[in-house]
């Protein structure tokens, strides 16, 4: 039985090659084989949103893909939102709005927010809430998270005008 395959992909902009067992989920692969432990695993069946990453620029649940399916694709995890070890605009705005409590759900939220704000998109509060409904925070700190996103949108608008 063929149990592993060689795959190549870009992880946060870095060209990467690995051999991977075909039955390993992408989430486990990122954490265990790539050291990208910022991707968190909560429910492991697509409900909680903690493992959300960008796959070719689109948000996906990494627990609902096999690692082998990442062959030839571009992946962005939470580590990719703050290159060079400095907080990116989204994590910074979330920090100043106290949008974290225990922090477990945070990577998934930040990736969902990054996906929402791509291509200069400026969502209203309703669309922000709609998109964030796909991520669960069991500390229930939703208000501060929504406020954080509103702040990022306002900051982008201010810097552009």
């Amino acid at each position: 039985m063929t149990t592993s395959r060689d795959i190549s992909f870009h992880l946060n902009g870095v060209s990467t090659e690995r051999s991977v067992n075909v039955r390993k989920t992408l989430a486990d692969f990122l954490r265990e084989d790539c050291g990208a432990t910022g991707t968190h695993l909560g429910c492991e069946h697509g409900v909680c949103g903690a493992c959300t990453i960008l796959h070719n620029g689109e948000p996906v649940r990494s627990c609902l893909m096999l690692a082998v399916q990442a062959d030839g694709t571009e992946l962005t995890t939470i580590e990719g939102l703050s290159p060079q070890g400095e907080l990116g605009a989204i994590p910074r705005a979330m920090k100043s709005n106290y949008a974290f409590q225990c922090g477990f759900c945070t990577p998934g939220f930040l990736i969902s927010i990054a996906a929402l704000l791509q291509d200069g998109n400026r969502p209203d509060e309703r669309s922000i809430r709609e998109v964030l409904s796909g991520n669960i925070c069991r500390c229930t700190g939703y208000e501060s998270i929504v406020n954080g996103v509103i702040a990022v949108v306002a900051e982008t608008e201010a810097s552009e005008s």
Binding site: V22, R23, E58, P59, L64, S133
Partner: protein, 291 residues
Amino acid sequence: MKPPPFEYLVPETLEETLEALDGADDDVKLLAGGQSFLPLLSLRLARPSLLVDINQISELSWLRVGENQVEIGAMTRESALEHSQELRAAAPLIAEAMPLIGHVAIRTRGTLGGSMAHADPAAELPAVAIALDATFSMRSKARGERTLGAQDFFQGYFTTALESDEVLTSIRFPRIKPGAGHAIAEVARRHGDFAMAGTAASVTIHDDIITEASLALFSMAEFPLRAETAETALVGSAPSSKLFAEVADLATRDLDPPEDLHASANYRRTIGATCVRRSLELAVKRAKGRA
């Protein structure tokens, strides 16, 4: 690793896939978007000997909006359907169902054909297919292509007419006609959850009289049901709140819906009736707007 061991194949063409499935038994599974199947694998509720990943087959991912119908390749992603303005104009019921399916990140991967073939009784897309009398095309190496109407395609809980050597290739929906309106209504515990009850409706109105009506109820039985007595009662009548209330009762009172932790059979009938009323009111309003 959570999923059990399996052989893995990633064909690039439909022909290669049919070849791999030829003579296959139930141990061989197709992997479409995986948004329902990956959890089954991780929980080891599914233990395929061979997993055929059809995500690389571009010939199964397309959308054709014709004069009288809309045809969609089975591997077209839900997010693509959600954002197609062309589809929204030609078959609004499909686009309207999309935001109700999971969340953004689920619809990035989830596919039209995958949802149909999985046949979850609480899923929206099978109900849309039943309400619109969609036609399913499937193909096997041994028997070539065949088509089935939605009412024959869905056969029970998570069960369809697809044979183990077949691939669902495309689904055809009629284009919405002048004077027609579509609407979908559901009740779920949280946004994005599977519905506890829901309805998909299509109503055509001429001179303030309903001339055609179709109503599909989901999460109320082992697969989406057409409410035929209710449809008969609608046709030939003038739309009114009183009529919708009567029809909502007709559509739900004889059903024996499943019970679970979240909803008793009686509660499902009650919210099912509410969904009937809401979807009809909205469909009629839209039909009048398009007349």
